[in-house]
């Protein structure tokens, strides 16, 4: 190749590399267009988020939301923030994520902004408080909530002529109802199960109903080895292995088609293979896809106590946000009556404001009279619902892994329920003790 041509090639390569480097410069990507601030909101892939964004942009035309609906798992949020590329707004999936991010300064403290804009936090359900407050400081605002109720497939109840449960039904009533609803076909294969629902998030209220809990009041010990906890886990175990009214979680995962928005039990319920399972009001949006499905909601059964599990979702501003006051407009939007009513309309759980939940807009929605009785049950159960108390001495993922791993061993027949409870308590306490000891050493 001649010298002149080689030089030309060199110049061309240099120019191309330069263009590549310049085009990847983040500073050139517009965060502001004219007087409009663009904010990135990291949330779940629920299709209704677009409608929520549309309503927000109508109310606050000077702020545009760029939806990042690929999920908001803690590891994703934290990694992006560590790289300096975090979202402006992010949803948080549990109180553990809130505490982790707040503790390391990854979230923007909005306490003063809440006071400035006179946002009355007492309007929210009291159970929502731990979801946005850490040591008296506010780091976000609720974005909808749910409480678990027992959803009943009326098609199946009517088919087998089983009466609907009463409001004050007990664990024994529940077991008998599930037995009547569990049926096999002529070849001995299960046609329909009476109940399903041992996902990690759905057995906490069974513990509370029996006077048990996962942690001691000071959150420094795991008390899953208490007699009440063992009795509860034995009851859940017997639902499958003794009374055969439910598939094991592993079998449920194997039976389901999975995929899409929602989970295996919702799909089985919708196709009339499952008579009862616990879920919140957010499942309604899935059921509306199945017009032939007839269902209702009843309170959870009780034993020593009445209890349900409360879940909230919150949206927080991250420390990477360059326009926190504009981002706070989104939090104000979440607090607004317009958004809370939109939660009712779009069936995105329940309004996180108690006053909206008590109103006729929720309890007697004229567009959906079929939901009146169900919404009343959702409201009533929320009054009895509790938060999952997470210990600050063990991370949520570590706790979840310890529990689900031991549960897997139990379902595989390697452990009895009582042994499983003792093993869970032992493993969790080992981690708590290790973390407490590290904390003492660093002090």
């Amino acid at each position: 190749m001649s010298r002149i041509r080689m030089k030309q090639v060199q110049y061309i390569v240099l120019i191309l590399v330069g263009i590549f480097l310049l085009s990847s410069d983040g500073e050139l990507i517009a965060g502001e267009k004219k007087n409009i601030v663009v904010l990135r909101w990291m949330t779940d892939p629920n299709p209704i988020r677009k409608q929520q964004v549309a309503l927000f942009e109508k109310m606050f035309p000077d702020v545009k939301i760029e939806l990042d609906a690929s999920g908001h798992r803690l590891e994703k949020v934290l990694t992006q923030i560590a790289a300096g590329a975090g979202p402006d707004l992010t949803d948080l999936e549990n109180t553990g994520a809130l505490h982790t991010l707040a503790k390391i300064g990854a979230l923007y403290d909005v306490t003063d902004l809440v006071k400035e804009h006179k946002i009355d936090l007492t309007k929210y359900w009291p159970q929502a408080r731990p979801w946005h407050e850490v040591n008296g400081r506010i780091y976000g605002l609720p974005n909808g909530c749910i409480s678990f109720v027992m959803l009943c497939n009326l098609n199946i109840f009517r088919k087998y002529n089983v009466p609907l449960p009463k409001e004050d039904w007990t664990w024994d009533d529940f077991r008998q109802t599930a037995e009547k609803l569990t049926r096999k076909d002529a070849k001995g294969r299960y046609e329909c199960f009476g109940y399903a629902g041992y996902a990690f998030h759905s057995w906490w209220h069974w513990l509370w109903q029996n006077g048990a809990d996962v942690f001691s009041p000071d959150l420094k010990r795991c008390i899953l080895d208490s007699p009440e906890a063992k009795e509860t886990v034995r009851f859940i175990y017997n639902l499958r292995n003794e009374w055969h009214v439910a598939p094991s979680p592993l079998e449920l995962a194997g039976m389901s088609g999975g995929g899409g928005w929602g989970q295996e039990d919702i799909n089985l319920f919708a196709v009339n293979k499952l008579a009862m399972f616990e879920r919140g009001r957010d499942s309604l949006i899935q059921f509306r896809k199945f017009p032939k499905l007839e269902w209702t909601a009843v309170p959870l059964p009780r034993k020593k106590d009445k209890a349900s599990t409360f879940y909230s979702r919150i949206t927080a501003i991250t420390r990477d946000c360059k326009h926190p006051r504009d981002a706070f407009k989104f939090l104000r939007f979440l607090y607004s009556e317009e958004f809370q009513r939109q939660i009712v309309d779009l069936v995105d759980g329940q309004p996180s404001r108690q006053d909206i939940c008590k109103s006729d807009y929720f309890l007697r929605d004229p567009n959906h009279p079929e939901d009146w009785e169900r919404n009343k049950i959702f409201y009533m159960e929320t009054e009895h619902s509790r938060n999952i108390h997470l210990s600050p001495y063990i991370s949520f993922p570590e706790m979840e892994r310890a529990i689900t791993s031991v549960f897997d061993e139990m379902w595989s027949g390697l452990l009895t329920p009582e042994q499983a409870c003792e093993k869970m308590a032992k493993e969790i306490n080992f981690i708590i003790d290790k973390n407490l000891s590290s904390e003492k050493k660093s002090q």
């Binding site: 923030i81 390391i104 194997g254």
Partner: protein, 300 residues
Amino acid sequence: MRTHSIGQHLKRGEFGAAILFLLPNIIGFLGFTLFPIIFALGLSLFKWNLLTPMEFVRFVNFKELMHDPLFWKYLYNTIFLMLGIPISIAGSLLLAMLLGWRGLRGVIFFRTLFYLPTITSGIALFILWRWIYNPDFGLMNRVLSLFGIQGPNWLIDIHWAKPALIIMGLWVSVGGVNMLLYLAGLKNIPLEMYEAAAIDGASHWQQFRYVTWPLLSPTTFFIVIMSIIGGLQGGFETAFILTGGGPAGATKTLGYYIYEKGFVDFQMGYAAGISCILFLIIFILTLIQWRIGQRTVYYQ
């Protein structure tokens, strides 16, 4: 004889152009390979959760690792899942020999068919195998029932989850890159060798044992080393997408554990420590294989 450096062979302009063309690769290697390796080695001596300042803890991470029952459990899982490697290599060789048979028609069709699983999306494969392994209506248990065998719960059985993954891995790897490498290796064996062996009265088996196998030893050596390295580093995708690492951690490998410790528990130093141990294991095993290879590999 005078030796000349590369620079002296090339003219000035050509040398500059050579560096320029190599630069993206060099920058990529330094930035995305060498630097992260050195950083990870250093990080293993610290405690760090990505956002707060690093805390120098010397060898505390390694000490905790040695007493971590999960580390040993997942190391066992990783090694167990590598039991499929010899079967995969034997299967690849067999397929290559069949495809290399001169009398076979439709070689290109079969070669493409066997290679398809390698180029199919991992997610699609996992969805397919999840259906195949379904205990109630899956293909695997249906076929077994034809022979009067009641199939296990496969992916949801603690004892059968790992064998299930090995079988799935064999289905992908037998007709994959190893088969192509063996095909190329077989084509490089001079036909005169076989003719000479035939003249000497060697049977087909003797021809394989004394001609094919020794002359394929460089290819086998390469495949074994790469398979072992891949096996020790692998298992993340399967655990993350197909099984979630379950049941009860039965399908979690060291690769998954590194991710879990680093990006779920945010113990980056601990995760770096695991990766250092893994690097050491791979390094020692590779050295041993090189030593063995020097004595057993035949180069033409």
